[in-house]
């Protein structure tokens, strides 16, 4: 038997009080842990997904919505833009590169994105199997999509209209899997990538349902090479959803957005600006959660203080007996401090595990959204501070009870009848 064991025995002797205090503290710390993890991973992910994209151009509407739909593929697109206008913009001397995107369909909630091979290069995508699309209706699956749907190379599927699950299926022409990407932990993981032509033709069919398409037409239409870079060749008036633009020079950041917003029917939005605005908006919620966490932690600290203080009253005899069998005042001080500290140590470990567990649930409940890439079992150095912080709370809460144990007069205590 030593003091640590003894303090542990006293804690487990009152499992309900101990349990409640540990749980309160753990909940408070779990919230802090989740906030830490989400903030860290979210910001990293947000920055990583927007890397290399200086400006997004799309239909007029909410700039934040445009960024969310075209860069992170979470919100609804703002609408489409005429391709000739988009092409004109891409020839601007301030623009280094444009990547067109055509959105509008999904497969089991995973978005089908029509684009060119530059989009793959933007994220340094690498293939686990197969290669990029060459013809219409050939698709490349993101790692998460492939894993969750279980589809292999050569399999076919049809997409559904709209960007969320539950709309009608485009069953006229099936997509064929020609490549599967390596997991990179970025937005590509949960996308189905294909050519812009595929997206166009899918929607053309809807309108031409009744018209007869000859085999020859079909051959010409569906089995030519698609555009690997830039815009697809077409004679018709076509539309795309948005453009991802890279600037040629820093000058562009000043001139280009203003030019687009005032002179065209399109709008330009900067990912970095919109994301910092988003974090500002979310900041209020984060602050409230943080406040709640601190309230929980303070209450649990008070709970620990009260529990120790009350138990001290019941234990005056025990303490006196310990002194009588040879414990020093200092031993009693340590005993009470150990109780407070081991209580909060338990609370902090449980809190951190709860936090990570919560994140695991969050990530698994949100497979197609931004929560999908959250890693539950990454541990941050900041979590060590949570433990230290908790131990400090334990020390603080047990200081007064420990001091009062230190000062207990044994002779008085033992002679009370």
């Amino acid at each position: 038997m030593n003091l640590l064991k003894l303090s542990w025995k006293y804690l487990t002797h009152k499992p309900l009080t101990t349990g409640l205090n540990v749980l309160l503290l753990a909940l408070g710390l779990a919230i802090i842990t989740v906030l830490l993890l989400v903030q860290d991973q979210f910001e990293k992910k947000m920055t990583q997904d927007a890397a290399g994209i200086d400006l997004v151009v799309g239909a007029k509407g909410s700039p934040l919505q445009l960024i969310l739909s075209s860069v992170y593929h979470v919100d609804f697109p703002t609408g489409n833009i005429p391709m000739d206008e988009a092409m004109r913009l891409s020839r601007n001397r301030l623009v280094k590169q444009t990547i067109p995107l055509a959105l509008g369909d999904n497969y089991q909630g995973y978005r089908i994105v029509g684009t060119n091979h530059d989009y793959l290069n933007l994220y340094d995508a690498a293939f686990s199997y197969g290669n990029a699309w060459n013809e219409p209706f050939e698709v490349v699956l993101g790692a998460t999509v492939a894993e969750k749907s279980g589809m292999k190379l050569g399999e076919t599927f049809s997409g559904s209209h709209g960007i969320s699950q539950g709309s009608h299926d485009h069953d006229k022409h099936a997509f064929k899997v020609v490549g599967i990407l390596e997991p990179k932990g970025n937005v590509l993981d949960r996308l189905v990538l294909t050519s812009i032509e595929s997206v166009w033709y899918t929607h053309d069919e809807e309108g031409e349902e009744e018209s007869e398409v000859s085999d020859e037409d079909h051959e010409e239409h569906f089995h030519h090479e698609v555009a690997k870079s830039g815009f697809p060749q077409t004679d018709e008036d076509r539309e795309v959803t948005s453009l991802l633009i890279q600037y040629r020079s820093p000058m562009a950041a000043v001139q280009l957005p203003r030019m687009i917003n005032s002179n065209t029917s399109m709008q330009a939005a900067s990912p970095s600006f919109e994301i910092s605005r988003l974090f500002e908006l979310l900041g209020i919620g984060v602050k409230i959660l943080e406040g709640l966490a601190y309230v929980l932690i303070v209450i649990s600290g008070l709970g620990i203080f009260i529990a120790l203080y009350n138990s001290l009253k019941e234990r005056r005899y025990d303490l006196a007996v310990l002194r009588a069998i040879g414990a020093s005042r200092f031993d009693l001080l340590i005993l009470i401090l150990l109780e407070g500290i081991s209580l909060t140590f338990l609370g902090s470990i449980l809190g951190i595990l709860l936090g990570h567990g919560f994140l695991l649930v969050l990530a698994s409940q949100n497979e197609t959204g931004v929560g999908a890439g959250l890693e539950a079992w990454i541990f941050l150095p900041a979590e060590l501070w949570i433990v230290i912080y908790a131990l400090f709370i334990g020390l603080l809460a047990s200081l007064i009870p420990a001091w009062s144990a230190y000062r207990t007069s044994i002779a008085d205590q033992l002679t009370k009848k």
């Binding site: 025995k9 007996v321 200092f330 002779a411």
Partner: protein, 210 residues
């Protein structure tokens, strides 16, 4: 001489001074301290164990002046050399019988008694691992006696050990204390107002209210 006191005096603030009769005991000797309630018996016991410091005089155990020890040294000396049996058992409730004894051992650096042997001597072997809340009153008291003995003390102090017991058990407890004290060659002092104990121990001093 294993244990003796000289001119022991003590006063609570604002009260008359207690003068205590000198005590001297050899290893294996027993002594009763008799007196009415409130006569200062317990005060004497606290002085002998070093829990209180006398106004004057000295308490000497095994050549060490107990009342001159301070702080941690005094606590250590008490833990190693003085075993105290309280009026009530006062066992540590979260611990088992064996753990209560181990706790007493923790504060002593001295080699103590063999726990199993001690538990067997006190007829407690079958209760070694049970929680102290499951003990009968008699068993709990035997555990508190075992705790007083476990560090092989030179002096055993017992405060009213028989007050709540019937004749038969009172007699058993006194003989147990005497036998164990003799076995480890300790001096035994029993503070009591219980006249029944006089039949077993003839050596006594009387404490009187000043």
């Amino acid at each position: 001489m294993l244990f003796f006191t000289k001119n022991l005096q003590f006063a609570y603030p604002g009260q008359a001074i207690y003068h205590f009769e000198d005590i001297s005991l050899n290893a294996g000797d027993s002594l009763l301290v008799l007196g009415k309630s409130g006569s200062g018996k317990t005060t004497l016991l606290n002085l002998l164990s070093g829990l209180l410091t006398p106004a004057s005089g000295e308490v000497v155990l095994d050549g060490v002046v107990v009342n001159s020890l301070k702080g941690v040294k005094a606590d250590r000396f008490r833990g190693e050399n003085i075993g105290i049996v309280f009026q009530k058992p006062h066992l540590l409730a979260p611990l088992t019988v064996r753990e209560n004894l181990q706790m007493a051992r923790h504060f002593s650096k001295k080699e103590g008694l063999d726990l199993d042997q001690l538990l067997a001597d006190l007829n407690l072997s079958h209760k070694a691992n049970s929680s102290v809340s499951n003990l009968s009153e008699g068993e709990a008291q035997r555990v508190s006696i075992a705790r007083a003995l476990v560090n092989k003390p030179r002096l055993i102090l017992a405060d009213e050990p028989t007050s709540s017991l019937d004749d038969e058990n009172a007699q058993k407890v006194i003989s147990l204390l005497q036998n164990q004290a003799a076995k480890i060659e300790a001096a035994l002092i029993i503070v009591t107002h219980d006249q029944r104990v006089k039949d077993q121990i003839s050596n006594f001093i009387q404490v009187q209210t000043p």
